[in-house]
Every structure is written in C-alpha cells, then in structure tokens.
C-alpha cells in the first residue's frame, strides 16, 4: 500500500488553498500534479546543462544527450519493451496517434479496409482514423459496450474480421474507467492478420504495463498524466513495424545524410524525431518514472482500486446520483463519471470549486460516447496516488451541498 501522507509532502501544489479551502485535486485524468523531483529536474537542466542534443561535442551537449536518451531507456523498462530504439518521443498521445495514422495508416489502409474502434474512444483515437477512413474509403467499425460499460467481447469476436487492418482501443476509458481486455483483443486482431494499437493515455499512468503481456503492436501515452511535465508523449511500436514506416515529420535530426536531391533517413528511433525535441521535459520525465517505479505500479493500482471502491460506495448512497461504467472497482480505474439528478455538470463543477475541489465537467473529448449515454455531459472525479479517503468524504459532502445550493433537485 502507498504511504499517502508521505507522498503528499512531495507535491508542492497540494499546499495550495483555493477559495480559502485546501485544494482537493480530482482532475487527474486530465493531467496529474507534479512532484518536486520533476520540477527540480526541469530547473536543473536549464540551470546546469541546457544544450541541444545529438549534435554538440561539448560537455553540456553530451550531458543533455545522455540524460535525454536515459529517459528513453527508463520508458523502455517501464512498459516492458525489448528495445529502446522502438520508443519515439512525441508531444503527447494525440501526436503519437497522428504519427501512426499518417505514416503507417497512409501506407497500409486501402479502400474497403476496416479500422475497429471501441465506442468509448477519446477524440484523439477517433478523429485521426475518421479522417484516414474518409481519405481512403475505408470503414470505421465500432465495438459496442455492454450496459455496465465493458466492451462486448462476443460482438468483438464477430466484428474483427479479415477486413480489419487495425484495432485501436483505449487501455482504460477516460470517462467510464473501464479497463479494456487488451490482450484478448490483440489475439482477435492477430488471428485476422490485423494490428492493434493501445491508447495508454489513462492506462499506463495507473496500472502496471507490459507491451509483451498485452501483445500489442502500438502503445501511446502522455507523460503529463503520470506525474511528468507537459509536452512529452511516447509512441512505442514493434521495431519491425516502425522500421517499415515512412517518416512523418521531416527535416533536421531525422536524417543521416542529405544531398541536394535526395536524403538518407536516420536510424530508429531518431527517424521519427524531427527537429529539436522537448529536451527539458523529456529529461524531467525520468524523475516521474523513477518516482512511480519507487512507489510500485502494483501499489498504485491497489490504491486506486481502494479509492474507486470507497468513492463508488459513497456515491451510491446519495439519492439521484447516476454513476457510469463498471460498478466493480477491480474492473475499472479510479476515474468516475456521474450525473446528479437534474443538476447540470457545470453547476456541480462550479459549486465544488467553491469548496476548493477540482473536478471536470463536460464531454471529456468523448462526444460519441456521450450520445450513446444520452447525456450532454457528465461530472468526473479522477484520483491518483496523493488522494485520500478524507478527500473523497469532502467531495461527497460538497456534492450534497451542491444539491442544497441548487434548491434540492435531487434530495427532495
């Protein structure tokens, strides 16, 4: 189990007060807070060895290059990948998916092919495929969800067919919290000769991750949701797939030789990292990964199951609250979307903010899922390593207060 009291001391922002109340940060699915070691790492790069990488022969450049490449090695270990050359740094998950859609997608998706998505994908793992499908006259196929927000696997077995070229699914839903049975989907995809892309934006920060165990072909995620800085995304792909992919962005760094009329591209992974990358933030990502490894991802997952269990039980006791997604805390992450009778999510969010509690309200970049749920939006509380049961209690009390402010819509 996590020593949450000790963890909290590592996060300077948790000392903040909002509207006169101690900050209770429950918007971790949007982005997480950062521990002091990450903030310090950023500052120390700029103070001590700021330099461009892969080009200078001077000490500063060597230090920066080796710190940058060290992060790649840490990422490799963290996701159980075999080779660090198949880890590409991007700006975020969205850019990583676009890289795949533009490079692999445009080289492999043809008219009549099918791209299989789940009905709970983030716009980031939907719109790039929609554009590609339109351009290539390919078809998007959606895996529907059961009543408690899980992928209907019987249907999946029928929908994933020889026409399928790619299955692109989230590892954990950022709305429903659902944990996807990725390795089963991988088996269905591979049996039909298709590849599988896992959107790990929510999964990787909150669960032990192994690309070998998932048996996926692509994994993408963002460091800013896992204690790291903004501006760093990761694309991992099987090296043989990455090797065959045409470049996405071109220019400096991604080349090995350039003539007036032709070019020889650089090796992996640099072939896909054109231009000066986000050096400081990649380097500081090391500190975030070290921090999570020290906590142990098994412990992180166990803590979040605890939090989800506690919050779900509390929410169920409030009349008028509807929770979306699996009711069983072990089948989901600690991201909980709900509606509260007729109180609009916006009003809930606003009133909670008065009490220093940060939650998210809206469609969470999942408009098709909102339409399926027949709601305009939801309120969403999402938890991480520094959240406590006391904070859950404060959140539940504030919800009851919100109902009072709105004139007892729910608890009449």
């Amino acid at each position: 189990m996590l020593d949450v009291a000790k963890i909290r001391q590592d996060f300077p922002v948790l000392e903040r007060r909002v509207n006169g109340k101690p900050l209770i940060y429950l918007d971790n699915a949007a982005t997480s807070q950062k521990p002091a070691c990450v903030i310090d790492s950023l500052a120390s790069y700029y103070r001590e060895y700021n330099a461009n990488i892969h080009r200078g022969l001077h000490t500063l450049s060597e230090e920066a290059t080796s710190a940058y490449e060290e992060t790649r090695e840490k990422v490799r270990e963290f996701i159980g990948a075999a080779e660090s050359r198949s880890i590409v740094f991007t700006r975020n998950t969205t850019e990583a998916i676009n890289l795949i859609a533009y490079s692999w997608g445009r080289a492999n998706i043809l008219a009549g092919d099918e791209i299989v998505l789940s009905a709970m994908e983030h716009h980031s793992n939907l719109v790039p495929w929609q554009l590609l499908a339109a351009e290539r006259d390919a078809r998007l196929v959606y895996l529907e969800l059961t009543a408690d927000g899980q992928i209907d696997m019987e249907l999946a077995a029928r929908l994933i067919s020889t026409k399928t070229k790619l299955v692109a699914v989230t590892m954990m839903s950022n709305v429903l919290g659902t944990v996807t049975p990725v390795s089963e989907l991988a088996r269905l995809a591979h049996n039909q000769g298709a590849l599988i892309l896992v959107d790990g934006a929510q999964g990787v920060p909150h669960m032990p991750t192994s690309v070998a165990r998932m048996d996926c072909d692509f994994l993408v995620f963002s460091l800013h949701k896992m204690l790291g800085p903004t501006g760093v995304g990761v694309l991992w792909a099987r090296p043989e797939i990455l090797e065959a992919m045409p470049p996405f962005l071109s220019g400096g760094d991604m080349i090995s030789s350039v003539w007036r009329d032709r070019v020889k591209f650089n090796e992996l992974p640099w072939r896909f990292e054109a231009g000066t990358p986000n050096i400081a933030d990649v380097i500081a990502s090391s500190a975030a990964i070290d921090y999570l490894r020290t906590l142990g991802m098994e412990n992180v997952r166990a803590h979040e199951i605890e939090m989800a269990k506690y919050a779900l039980a509390g929410l169920q006791e409030i009349p008028g609250v509807t929770v979306y997604g699996p009711q069983d805390a072990t089948a989901r992450g600690a991201v909980i979307s709900f509606n509260f009778s007729e109180v609009h999510p916006h009003d809930i969010g606003q009133i909670l903010n008065d009490g220093g509690i940060a939650i998210r309200a809206g469609h969470h970049c999942c408009q098709p899922l909102m339409r399926d749920l027949k709601v305009a939006g939801t309120a969403r509380a999402s938890f991480y390593v520094y959240n406590t049961k006391e904070e859950v209690d404060a959140f539940l009390d504030a919800l009851k207060e919100a109902d009072k402010v709105m004139g007892h819509v729910a608890c009449r």
């Binding site: 609009h344 309200a361 709105m406 004139g407």
Partner: protein, 150 residues
C-alpha cells in the same frame, strides 16, 4: 456570502426550476439553434414575428442553471417587443456582461436581469449566460432577412 450564493441567487434558481416560455412553436417565423460545444448547452429558439414585433417566443433548452435562467429571463424581456427594441435589450444585456462595468442602467422591466451580474466573476460561465442572447440575435437577423424576401 459564499461565491456560490452570489451566483445562484433566488431569482436565477426560480427561472431555472420554472423556465418561462419553455417549449416549441409549431409554425414559427424563424427557428434558430445555438450550442456551446465546451459544456454541451443546447438551445432551440422559436419566434413568431408580426409587424416587426415578437408576438411569441419559445425556448427548447438543455443546459446548466445559468444558461436556462438567462434564456428564461430573456424570453420575458423581449416577448411582445419590436425587433428593434429586442435588439436594444440584447445590447444592454451584453454590455452588462461584457462591458467595463456591470453597473449598466436597467429599465424597470429588465430588473430581473440584474441577478445575472454575479456571472461576470466566472469567465467560463459568461458563455452560458450569453448563448440564448446570441441565438436571439441570429433569429432577429433571420426574421429581418426573411421579411425582405417574400
């Protein structure tokens, strides 16, 4: 007074729980739709115009309290008014929400709108309050354009 009390005043909650002129009109002169993609507020405005005046207005709205209350108050403020006067009311309201000072003179028949002044302190919510009014402006323009083209 807490922040929430300032925003969720009695008048606002009354309009939210009992929206005026809520519903649809079967054969309106114009019908316009407004959405606030950020939060999912949606509104469909129906308006019947006779002799350049708003003889009937109905709102079919799904949104947060501020959005619903603002639309309800707006419908009361402009029903029966000439298009020109309605446009003036919109101008006054927008001035109150977006102008340099909230202290805009409100004639007696618009006094209820003062309750929405508190929204100024919540920049993200101003859009919610403005949605019905912007939708009305569009409806007025449509009605004008329509009346020129027989």
């Amino acid at each position: 007074m807490s922040l929430a009390d300032d925003l969720y005043r009695e008048t606002i909650l009354d309009h939210y729980h009992h929206p005026r002129n809520s519903g649809t009109i079967e054969h309106p002169t114009v019908r316009t739709e407004g959405v606030n993609p950020l939060c999912g507020d949606e509104i469909t405005l129906y308006m019947t115009v006779d002799n350049d005046a708003i003889s009937d207005i109905k709102l079919d709205a799904h949104g947060c309290s501020i959005n619903m209350a603002s639309g309800s108050m707006m419908s009361e403020a402009v029903k029966g008014q000439s298009l020109e006067h309605a446009q003036e009311v919109v101008r006054t309201f927008k001035e109150m929400m977006l102008g340099p000072s909230p202290d805009v003179f409100l004639p007696e028949e618009l006094e209820d709108l003062e309750a929405l002044q508190g929204v100024r302190k919540y920049p993200v919510r101003i859009k919610c309050a403005l949605l019905p009014w912007n939708t009305l402006l569009e409806a007025i323009e449509k009605a004008r354009a329509g009346s020129k083209i027989p």
